[in-house]
């Protein structure tokens, strides 16, 4: 069964025979996982069919055309699943993958620390092997979904006497234990989309070390590459079409509502360009030539970024070896566009930009733009890191001199 027609026939037939919207979400997902149609790109030994990306896309298309409820994919759980699949041992895959797919166990990502943001490999959460168990002490931050997670993927330092990238190990940690405390973290825009996680003598079983001791950095990079490919953790996971009826849809809608809730402000952090012209016309600001100049600048940036990204994609497809840092340039572009949009919204509002809340412009959305835009140039790799990547990897400029070589113990760091 390899041709597109055969695949689409087989999956349609299976759905005809098994899809039942009166099942509970968990019942349906268990059937789905057993069928291997949920993750066809995974290997046959672990709920998959070893399909190529193209073959999997056929299955995905049929699922979405028919409005079939998929396996759980909100929050960081897919990052955990893909990392365990790629780097975990057989025992770990058998224990953890299935409940991730069915949604019965949820996960969070314990990577960033207050003392190591851009410099993730400078992390200082400590893991010590004592009496056959790993004992964890330290603090993590920016942990999406940690307040309702059952498990976490964790990077912690196991060796302080080797260079920083070599002393890190990768763990699977049970979040439901006494040594783990989760606190919500309130942002400058008033939302609380993330958490801080405090680990005090928290315990990880010996068999929950992924890979070997000291392999943690390479494994974390696997996770991060999935994160980039999936477009970040905090994206929208869509919604259930209103006309869909049945128990499985109801439960799925509830799951999505919980998952999407922390991110209602994400469109605002991108600048809400869709509101620029309507507001400029409505307020009459469009008649001010200085406002028109800034709006035109904004459209130039937006259009230019879109065209540059399309040109880079076309070059990539044509097999060109030319280095086009589409990812980093796109990320940087989003920042400058959002900032310019905030500037334009401010010009349009004038003194009205002093207001906030539901009675302010666009039911508070403009105020939310103004206090959310700073996130876009920080989250997912700061603008400064993107500029380092572009200048070093594309322009071939020399690396900055480093002050963090040698044993980690001797490197100056945040207390």
């Amino acid at each position: 069964m390899t041709s597109p027609e055969e695949i689409s026939k087989a999956v349609s037939q299976w759905l005809d025979d098994n899809w039942d919207q009166d099942l509970s979400l968990t019942e349906w997902r268990n059937i789905l996982v057993d069928s291997s149609w949920a993750t066809p790109h995974w290997p046959e030994a672990y709920f998959g069919r070893g399909f190529t990306t193209e073959q999997s896309a056929i299955v995905g298309r049929i699922f979405s055309e028919r409005g079939i409820v998929p396996v759980a994919q909100t929050g960081p759980r897919r990052l955990a699943a893909e990392t365990i699949l790629a780097e975990g041992n057989d025992q770990q895959k058998r224990r953890y993958l299935r409940p991730i797919l069915t949604g019965e166990e949820s996960w969070c990502q314990l990577f960033s620390e207050p003392g190591s943001g851009s410099d993730l490999a400078g992390l200082s959460t400590k893991a010590e092997f004592i009496d056959g168990k790993w004992i964890i002490n330290g603090q993590k931050v920016w942990n999406t979904s940690a307040h309702h997670a059952d498990f976490g993927i964790l990077v912690a330092r196991t060796d302080w006497d080797v260079p920083k990238h070599q002393g890190i190990s990768f763990f699977l940690i049970d979040m439901r234990q006494k040594g783990v405390e989760v606190r919500q973290l309130k942002q400058m825009n008033g939302h609380a989309s993330f958490n801080e996680v405090f680990m005090t003598d928290a315990v990880v079983a010996a068999e929950d070390l992924v890979g070997k001791e000291g392999d943690g950095w390479a494994i974390a990079k696997t996770t991060l590459s999935y994160e980039r490919r999936l477009g970040g953790v905090g994206r929208s996971f869509g919604s259930v079409q209103a006309e869909k009826l049945g128990r499985v849809h109801d439960e799925y809608a509830k799951e999505l509502e919980v998952a999407n809730e922390p991110y209602t402000w994400y469109p605002q952090r991108q600048g809400r360009l869709d509101l620029v012209l309507p507001r400029a016309r409505e307020t009459g600001a469009i008649n001010d030539p200085s406002v028109r100049q800034e709006i035109a600048r904004l459209f130039c940036m937006q259009k230019g970024a879109g065209l540059a990204s399309a040109a880079a994609e076309a070059k990539r497809k044509s097999g060109s070896n030319e280095l086009v840092p589409a990812g980093s340039i796109g990320k940087l572009a989003a920042s400058v566009i959002a900032r310019q949009a905030a500037k334009v919204h401010t010009m349009i509002s004038g003194s009205d930009a002093m207001r906030s809340g539901p009675d302010s412009a666009e039911e508070g959305m403009i105020a939310e733009v103004l206090v959310s835009v700073p996130a876009i140039s920080i989250a997912g790799g700061t603008d400064e890191i993107q500029r380092n990547i572009i200048s070093e990897r594309v322009l071939g400029m020399p690396k900055e001199m480093r002050a963090d070589t040698g044993p980690f113990r001797d490197i100056k760091r945040n207390d």
Partner: protein
């Protein structure tokens, strides 16, 4: 509408680049810019006869190659990169497009083949280089006689034929006259950018031939085609500046390390690359749109506004990152800096083009 260059177009770029690399080294540019005419007639003839560039965008029926704004853009981009000195922009691009878009069949048949062959050097007289709304107010035709003056005409001192967009009654027309006609005064103007020759042209009761009508739509079209070609030239120049600046930061050592290892420079180079990627994409897109007769009406102005600001930013950074040496006459950067500044204000400043964009989007009352 095409979204990327074809293999043939890439090969064409290679041919143009190789010719210019050979014929337009900075030492040559320096020598030519000190002369009154500012170009080498032998190289111009080779460029026209051997590479055939002067007729790139002109239809085959008028002796051209039958390519369009995309190929012209490629040629212009490479000329901008190598700072080619010659009457290409004045004669092929400006006069060529004015005739092609506004000229009568008879005038096109008579003049375009010579322009395409480079045997006739023409230029387009625009009495206002800031805004097309003001074109034709200072050059007036009455009873076949032209009076008035244009302050800045590109390569007028090198041209044997002038095409003039002038007012005639309450409309604009395209007029043609040989530069040796009675009543024409051509006075070279000292140019900020010595690689592009300028002259003031005066008309004192000059007998001219009307060779076409210039409606506001046609004037818009001419403006679009000229600006897209110019934007290509600017993008090529900006890329050259970025390339040479990056190389310089790798070999220049201060404080025991290459200055290119300082984030203070690296981050500005990264920003510049991003800005250039946007401007280049917008410029190529504008040419694709013109070639296909499709796309948003404002793409040409968008390209010119973006290319102008990018080129000037690249020029500013190219001088700054070289430090003191960048401010010397001996170093080549100022040649491109001056072309960037001069092009920024040629055929509409970025602000003029942004306002034109908004007008075309229907947002200006």
């Amino acid at each position: 509408m095409q979204t990327g260059f074809t293999e043939d177009q890439e090969a064409f770029r290679e041919v143009v680049a190789r010719f210019l690399q050979d014929k337009s080294q900075p030492t040559t540019v320096r020598k030519l810019m000190e002369t009154d005419q500012g170009y080498d007639p032998d190289v111009w003839q080779q460029l026209c006869n051997e590479v055939g560039l002067a007729g790139t965008h002109l239809p085959e029926e008028y002796g051209g190659f039958g390519f369009g704004p995309v190929e012209l853009g490629i040629a212009a981009e490479e000329m901008g990169r190598y700072l080619y000195c010659g009457p290409f922009f004045a004669s092929s691009v400006m006069a060529g497009y004015a005739l092609l878009l506004a000229g009568s069949e008879e005038a096109k048949t008579r003049m375009l083949p010579e322009i395409a062959a480079g045997s006739l050097i023409a230029t387009l007289v625009l009495d206002n280089l800031n805004s097309l709304d003001l074109v034709g107010q200072k050059v007036l035709v009455n009873n076949g006689r032209l009076n008035g003056a244009a302050d800045l005409v590109v390569d007028a001192q090198n041209a044997s034929q002038l095409l003039v967009i002038a007012s005639s009654g309450d409309e604009l027309g395209l007029f043609s006259v040989a530069t040796d006609s009675a009543g024409i005064g051509i006075l070279p103007v000292e140019a900020l950018d010595p690689t592009r020759k300028l002259a003031r042209v005066t008309f004192d009761d000059v007998e001219v031939e009307r060779v076409g009508d210039v409606s506001s739509e046609i004037l818009d079209q001419i403006w679009d085609y000229l600006n897209v070609a110019l934007a290509h030239e600017m993008v090529g120049g900006a890329q050259r500046l970025l390339d040479t600046t990056i190389e310089y930061t790798k070999i220049r050592y201060q404080f025991g390390r290459p200055i290119g290892s300082f984030q203070g420079l690296k981050h500005r180079c990264a920003d510049l690359l991003m800005e250039l990627e946007f401007a280049r994409a917008a410029t190529h897109y504008a040419a694709f749109c013109l070639a296909a007769g499709d796309g948003e009406p404002y793409v040409s102005s968008m390209a010119k506004a973006m290319a102008s600001e990018t080129y000037m930013n690249a020029a500013k950074e190219a001088v700054q990152m070289r430090g003191g040496i960048g401010f010397t006459w001996e170093e080549d950067t100022h040649l491109w800096y001056k072309r960037a500044k001069s092009s920024e204000v040629f055929l509409g400043t970025p602000a003029v083009h942004r306002e034109r964009m908004m007008t075309m989007m229907g947002e200006v009352a």
